[in-house]
Symmetry: C2
Subunit: 245 residues, 2 copies
Amino acid sequence: MKRVKLTVAYDGTAYHGWQFQPGQPTIEGILNWALEDLLHEDTEVIGASRTDTGVHALGNVCVFDTESRIPGEKFAAALNTRLPEDIRIMHSEECEPDFHPRYDAHDKIYEYRITRAKTMPPTKRLYATHIYYPLDVQKMRQAAAYLVGRHDFAAFCSAGSTVKDTVRTVLAVDVLEENEDIVIRVKGEGFLYNMVRIIAGTLINVGSGRMKPEAVKDAVLGASRELAGPTAPAQGLTLIEINYD
Amino acid sequence: MKRVKLTVAYDGTAYHGWQFQPGQPTIEGILNWALEDLLHEDTEVIGASRTDTGVHALGNVCVFDTESRIPGEKFAAALNTRLPEDIRIMHSEECEPDFHPRYDAHDKIYEYRITRAKTMPPTKRLYATHIYYPLDVQKMRQAAAYLVGRHDFAAFCSAGSTVKDTVRTVLAVDVLEENEDIVIRVKGEGFLYNMVRIIAGTLINVGSGRMKPEAVKDAVLGASRELAGPTAPAQGLTLIEINYD
């Protein structure tokens, strides 16, 4: 028995998110199907991050256990021949048998992409959110600074969540400009449900002038959902990488 | 009666190219349908560039004539509400009644995008070609220089074409690096059928070492299709803009 670690990239457009749901196309469901097809063993993936419907990933991580004699590094190619083109195993390797992709993660990096243009360019529509009004990037950066650190992020957690401890540590929030795009790059030790999309929605409100940068500080201190901005649309979000010690 | 000029962007993934074909989804067909729905007039677009199946555009151009009193600049929004999200009118304006989008074009700019990675990132799969082996960018640039100028590009024209005069003027071929991507940017006064895709396929062969840079000079002088490289896949190609005097 060995444990294999997979680095998984996907275009989330066609999927109902990561987590298995009967009768729905999900990343986890497709990966388990491909493993069954390859190994004919009773094994399932354990994932690091349960991304939502329409959210993309360049580097989500999962593991599975197997009796197979296939070397760990060969699983990427063997699985990719069985997977649709919008899901790719970017890397595979054998890992420690007690390695856990979620609990052992040191930090995760997400990017939220905003395209500023009068009209949304069609080739970006699946990977960015369109904002046609002006955004003040300096104010967005000022607001972003209030999010960095160990805080109660209750204001940045969707109502549907059942977690009790809403304290999380955000290591960095960078607001970058790439031609007509703004990329909000968030690095954190862990995230609440919809937290990065609410951070994006809040920073968009600051950029447009609907919220003052200081209101983000108040949202962190007030710890109440209505103090933060709306949840930005899923398709702008990409899980870039998960780092381990 | 007035003539209106449209700047059209599209994700070509779902379409059988620009040109109308009965029973197939095409950009021209959808645009004509949207005009009919808006105007209830007998009018059709005249396009500048008949892009192939799977080829994208940021700025293709077309015109149509109308008796409508809608101001030229209002057509973009009026048509966008009737178009699918993968086709967008980026700009509309009234133009001279004798303006012709193809014959009056001074030059067109295309980009061919190559992604170098061990595994194709799924979010790029519709907009780039995957090359997993190393490419020598300096040699590609050396070869590209032989293409610039007024030459017989018969070696860079697909066999299916019926044009007799295969002399064209290429104004620039730049080989740019953007992180893991190589972008071949071609500016020309006019192009033969599949010419940019054959230029891309040829420069990829030079980059990989299958062809020497000087072989591109020989292909131009020899004017025979088998002297150039293969036709690179459609999805890497985007029509960036068409310039008028």
